[in-house]
C-alpha cells in the first residue's frame, strides 16, 4: 500500500516544442481512488505511463511511498496496470496470463494456483481459466486483465481507460465492479478516463487535466458545485453547463448578469456585492447547469426567466433535454420526461439563480463563491 507524489513533472516528447505534461504536481493518498480525466490528448495517459515507468520523465520527481522511482524499472515499482486494449498475452491461456507475473517472481506453484483461483473467483472467470484470450468476449477479457493485475497484490493499481472498449451496458456493470474491487483490495487506484460519468461515479477525487496541466483536483461533488474555471465547469456535468457571455449590471435590488433583454439576478450567495461591483459593466461568462433550468416557475428573486425557441427536445425516458436558443445563445435545459415541450415551441424557462456560476471572461477563472 502506498501513496504517490508527483512533483513538478514535465514530459516533453523528442521533436516537439509543446510539452505533453507541464510542471504537474499531484499528491495521491494511500488507498485513494483518484481519477485523471480530460479530453483526448490532454496528457492524462502520459502521467499514468510515467507513474508506471513506461515513459521517461523529462523533469521532476515521482515518489511511490517514500521511494523516488524516476530511475526504477517498471517491474520493480510494485505496480500493476490494466490497459485500454487489455494487453492479454494471446499465446497464453487465461490461467497463464494471470500466473505470468507470479511465475517471473518465482512464487511457489501452489501459491500461484491459490492466488490465480482466488482472483478468478472474485471476478467470476473461474470457468474461463483454460481458454485463450481470443475465445473471450470484451467484458471477459477486461476481467482477465483485472485479474492479472490483482494476483500480484500490488501497492498501486494503474488503469488506463479500461472500460472504453466495452459497450454501454457492460461499462456500467464493470464500473460498479471496479469500485467494489477497490473497496475490497484497499489499494491505491489511479484511473485514467475521458468519460466524465466514470470520473464522477468512481473516484474519491478527480484531477481534471487540460493540455498537460491540472485544472482542478477535488472530490466529484466539489468539482460539480465549485468549478474553478471555465474548462472544469464545461467538462464536468452532462449535458454540459450552459456558458453564456453576459455583462454584470446593477439592478434595483443588487446585481444581475445581462445578455440581450434577459437578466439573471446574481444573489449574494453566488457573488458578493464587492465582487459584483468590481465587475460592473465588464464581460463575464455565466454558467448555468441544464438541471437548474426548469420549465415551470415564475419570475421571482430566486427564479429568473429565460425565453427561447425550442430547437430540439430529446427524450431520455425519465428526463428530456431541451435545446433552445436564448438571445441567440444555444442553451440546454434538463426537464422531466413527462414535460410536454416540443421542438418549435417558444418556451419560458425558470433559472435557479442560487445555482449559477460566473467566470472572468479573460482569465476563465471563477468569480463566484
Amino acid at each position: 500500500m502506498a501513496s504517490i507524489q508527483l512533483k513538478h513533472i514535465t514530459k516533453r516528447y523528442p521533436g516537439t516544442t509543446v510539452p505533453a505534461v507541464e510542471d504537474l504536481n499531484l499528491s495521491i493518498e494511500d488507498k485513494e481512488f483518484i481519477i485523471l480525466v480530460g479530453p483526448s490528448g490532454c496528457g492524462k495517459s502520459t502521467v499514468l505511463r510515467m507513474i508506471a515507468g513506461l515513459e521517461e520523465i523529462t523533469d521532476g520527481e515521482i515518489f511511490i511511498g517514500d521511494r523516488l522511482i524516476n530511475e526504477v524499472a517498471p517491474k520493480d515499482r510494485d505496480i500493476a496496470m490494466v490497459f485500454q486494449n487489455y494487453a492479454l498475452y494471446p499465446h497464453m491461456t487465461v490461467y497463464k496470463n494471470m500466473a505470468f507475473s507470479l511465475k517471473l517472481r518465482k512464487t511457489p506453484k501452489k501459491e500461484i494456483d491459490e492466488k490465480v483461483r482466488a482472483a478468478a473467483k472474485i471476478l467470476d472467470i473461474e470457468s474461463l481459466l483454460d481458454r485463450k484470450p481470443r475465445a473471450l468476449s470484451g467484458g471477459q477479457r477486461q476481467r482477465v486483465a483485472l485479474g492479472r493485475a490483482m494476483v500480484r497484490n500490488p501497492s498501486v493499481f494503474l488503469l488506463d481507460e479500461p472500460l472504453s472498449n466495452l459497450d454501454a451496458k457492460l461499462r456500467t456493470s464493470m464500473r460498479a465492479e471496479i469500485t467494489r474491487l477497490h473497496e475490497r483490495l484497499g489499494t491505491t487506484f489511479v484511473y485514467v478516463t475521458h468519460d466524465q460519468t466514470e470520473a464522477m461515479t468512481m473516484g474519491d477525487r478527480i484531477a481534471v487535466i487540460k493540455d498537460g496541466v491540472i485544472q482542478q483536483i477535488d472530490t466529484p461533488q466539489n468539482l460539480y458545485d465549485h468549478p474553478q474555471n471555465l474548462f472544469v465547469g464545461g467538462f464536468i456535468g452532462s449535458p454540459q453547463m450552459n456558458l453564456i457571455d453576459a455583462t454584470v449590471e446593477k439592478a434595483a435590488d443588487g446585481y444581475c448578469a445581462a445578455f440581450g433583454e434577459t437578466k439573471i439576478g446574481i444573489p449574494e450567495q453566488v457573488m458578493s456585492a464587492a465582487v459584483c461591483a468590481d465587475y460592473e459593466g465588464k464581460p463575464v461568462v455565466l454558467g448555468i447547469r441544464p438541471e437548474f433550468i426548469s420549465e415551470t416557475g415564475s419570475h421571482s428573486e430566486e427564479h429568473n426567466l429565460m425565453t427561447g425557441d425550442v430547437d430540439l427536445a430529446e427524450s431520455m425516458g425519465a428526463e428530456k433535454f431541451v435545446y433552445f436558443a436564448c438571445e441567440g445563445c444555444p442553451c440546454i435545459a434538463k426537464v422531466p420526461g413527462s414535460s410536454p415541450i416540443q421542438s418549435g415551441e417558444s418556451v419560458s424557462f425558470a433559472v435557479d439563480c442560487t445555482m449559477i456560476h460566473a467566470f472572468d471572461k479573460e482569465t476563465g477563472l471563477t468569480i463566484s463563491k
Binding site: P14, K75, A87, Y89, P90, R148
Partner: protein
C-alpha cells in the same frame, strides 16, 4: 446450365492437372533418372518407370564426394540460418521499436545492397577474400550468405514486430520482465509464424546457392552440394545419372522442411506482406 457447370469444372481440373504436370515433371524425371542405368537413360525411349530399377547410382554417389560436400552444405546452411535468425530478429526488433539516429537510412541501405547483381560483386569479393586468404573456406560462404539473407530477414521480421502491439511488451515489463525477457516471453511467441517462414526462406536460399559457392570454393574443404552437382558435368561429358542422383538427395532437406512448415509459409507470407 448444368452442362456449362460440368464443362467449367472439367476445364478447371484440366488446367490444374497441367500445372501440376509442368511443375512436377522435371523433378519426377530427376527421380526416375536417379534410379535408371546410364545406358537406359541415354536410349531414345521415353519411360515412366525404368526397366532396370537400380540403387547403384546412390551407392556410387556415396563412395564419391557426396558426403563431404553434403557436410559442407549442412554446416554452412545451419550456421547461416542460426546466425541470421539471431541477428536478424534482434536487428528487426531494434528497427521496429527504438528511435535512433540514421534508422531509416540504415534500413534502406540494407535493402540497397540487394539491388546490385551478384555478378558485379563477385570480382571485388574474390579479390578481398583472396587477400584475406579466405578462398575455399566455409566461413567465407557463411559471411556472404549472411549478407544475402539478413536484409530480407530484417525487413520481413520488422513488419511482423511492427504489428505486434507494444502494450503487450509494456504489460510484460510491468509484470516483471526486463526488455529482453519481454522480447523472449511475449514478442517471440507472437512472431513465431514469421520466424518459421524466414527460417525456411534463409535455408532455401543458402542451401541452393550456386554462383558464389562455385566462384569461391575449389576443393571439398568448402565445396557445397550445388557445386558438386555441377562438377559431374566435366569436360569428358555430362554424367546425368550422378547429377540426378545427387540432385534428388540435395533436394530432400528443403522439401522436407517446406512440407513440415508449409502452414507457416502461407500464413507467414500473407501476414508479413501487408502492414495491418
Amino acid at each position: 446450365m448444368k452442362v456449362k457447370k460440368v464443362l467449367n469444372r472439367t476445364i478447371l481440373y484440366f488446367l490444374v492437372a497441367l500445372i501440376i504436370v509442368i511443375t512436377l515433371a522435371p523433378y519426377l524425371w530427376l527421380v526416375i533418372s536417379s534410379f535408371s542405368t546410364k545406358i537406359e537413360l541415354m536410349s531414345r525411349q521415353i519411360f515412366l518407370i525404368p526397366h532396370n530399377i537400380t540403387l547403384a547410382n546412390y551407392k556410387d554417389l556415396m563412395s564419391k564426394d557426396f558426403i563431404p560436400a553434403a557436410m559442407n552444405s549442412i554446416i554452412v546452411t545451419s550456421s547461416v540460418v542460426v546466425i541470421s535468425v539471431i541477428i536478424g530478429v534482434l536487428a528487426a526488433y531494434a528497427f521496429s521499436r527504438f528511435r535512433f539516429r540514421g534508422k531509416n537510412p540504415l534500413l534502406n541501405l540494407s535493402l540497397f545492397t540487394q539491388m546490385i547483381p551478384p555478378i558485379a560483386l563477385i570480382i571485388p569479393m574474390f579479390i578481398i577474400f583472396k587477400r584475406l586468404d579466405l578462398i575455399n573456406h566455409r566461413i567465407t560462404l557463411v559471411m556472404i550468405y549472411l549478407s544475402l539473407v539478413l536484409p530480407y530477414l530484417i525487413w520481413i521480421m520488422k513488419s511482423y514486430i511492427d504489428v505486434t502491439p507494444k502494450t503487450l511488451e509494456e504489460a510484460a515489463m510491468i509484470d516483471g520482465c526486463s526488455r529482453l525477457k519481454s522480447f523472449f516471453f511475449v514478442v517471440l511467441p507472437m512472431i513465431s509464424t514469421g520466424l518459421a517462414a524466414t527460417v525456411i526462406f534463409s535455408f532455401i536460399i543458402t542451401w541452393n546457392e550456386f554462383f558464389y559457392a562455385f566462384s569461391l570454393t575449389k576443393t571439398l574443404d568448402a565445396k557445397t552440394l550445388p557445386v558438386l552437382i555441377y562438377d559431374f558435368n566435366s569436360k569428358f561429358g555430362a554424367n546425368y545419372v550422378m547429377s540426378a542422383t545427387a540432385g534428388v538427395l540435395a533436394s530432400l532437406p528443403p522439401v522436407l522442411i517446406a512440407l513440415l512448415f508449409q502452414k507457416y509459409i502461407i500464413t507467414g507470407l500473407a501476414a508479413g506482406a501487408v502492414k495491418e
